[in-house]
Symmetry: C2
């Protein structure tokens, strides 16, 4: 008997989306103020809170997205490890995007990739593109893993840099269009990249899609419910923006 090859993130995403008829990626952001009062201060409740959301939504989603900051602030990395294992058991085949937005180079990026993919067993990560291609490449060395680059974020400060217009790039794109183009083309050697585009900017999602017709889009900011932010994970068919 041959052992089946492990699924890539992109394959897992497409399969989970088809199986659950869903484009919904559920964020797992255990914001302390949202926990029951008598749970606060007990790090193990970060796990309980998120695991309950996973159990209630496992057949409704195409992905889960835990946010590492909530665990790191409490010194609760062990609870995040438990959560990752719980998702694999309670929602087999549903990919997990570790929302960590790291951005560094060389051996440091290798260590962050190791953290995400080996320590936590994530299927994909979120990353900042600010330091350029060599800050992304160490993640892409993990065959089949995914990486969503911040492209156009939903917050007001997103304008400070992402909305600026570039004078010295063909077509004078805005910064976020430039990033989308790089992610669609030269940076995406093995088809592992996706983009983060805020749901509050529908016109700009269209412009991102024009630059990157084939990339999965992670679109946070659709709402807040239960464990935290929700978003849509569009498959490569580009369904999120009606393409």
């Amino acid at each position: 008997m041959s052992t089946p090859l492990p699924l890539t993130f992109i394959d897992m995403l497409a399969a989970a989306s088809a199986r659950n008829h869903s484009l919904l990626c559920v964020g797992l952001d255990p914001e302390p103020s949202k926990l029951p009062l008598h749970w606060r201060g007990d790090a193990s409740k970060l796990f309980d809170f998120c695991a309950a959301i996973v159990d209630a939504t496992a057949d409704q989603v195409c992905a889960f997205k835990p946010q590492i900051a909530y665990f790191a602030a409490q010194g609760a990395e062990t609870q995040l490890e438990r959560l990752m294992a719980h998702i694999r058991q309670a929602a087999p085949g549903v990919p997990v995007i570790l929302d960590s937005k790291r951005g560094d180079i060389g051996s440091t990026a290798e260590q962050y990739a190791k953290e995400a993919f080996e320590r936590y067993g994530a299927d994909a990560v979120t990353l900042s593109p600010f330091m350029g291609q060599d800050s992304i490449e160490p993640y892409l060395r993990y065959a089949g893993k995914g990486a969503f680059l911040l492209c156009r974020t939903s917050n007001p400060g997103g304008d400070d840099l992402q909305a600026r217009t570039l004078a010295d790039v063909d077509g004078q794109p805005q910064v976020f269009e430039h990033i989308a183009r790089l992610a669609q083309g030269p940076w995406n050697s093995n088809g592992q990249l996706g983009l983060v585009v805020g749901a509050t900017r529908p016109q700009e999602i269209v412009r991102v899609r024009a630059q990157a017709p084939h990339l999965p889009l992670l679109i946070p900011g659709v709402g807040a419910q239960g464990g935290g932010c929700l978003g849509y994970c569009a498959s490569r068919a580009g369904r999120a923006n009606g393409d």
Copy 2:
């Protein structure tokens, strides 16, 4: 008796620099391949390796800069907590910059700020500016703490975004000049910001200094020795580039 106010990061940096006659910030990057072979795989050796560097250089530096990725990849956050405590004891008054390059918004950024300043007791952090002002503001709520924004990094991929020219900002600056200007002006409400500018780009350090005459500059990439990369921390007098 009145309790003396805690020193700000900027004050600590200036005092340590004057006391040790130093502009040197020693990076603590316990790259696994640099550890003695028989130490590898033992997370407590990350502490031993870095602590030995701290002990050997405590009177030669103006700051220490541990890189969190090396600890996170090994599940060794406890060793980083030990290291932070050791620096405070072995090098009292020398500020510690936690090199984590976080970049997120709202309650997530609050959690990362809590991680750096409350859990680890850092005096300053490194941050990515990609998500704009509201991704930086939660750190500045910690009075007296410092934040160094990535501005012009030393890696080849730094050109992909940072070196592009902006069409719609006064004077058509390059992206890194735009960030330096924001950090010198509107973003720096309480004088807590600094900038990261790679030592491999001396001409661009001059251009950063033109935009940001009063900010401390963290200039990595001067060399590699002992525990990892070394850099210079220039005080607000701007000594690193001969101003």
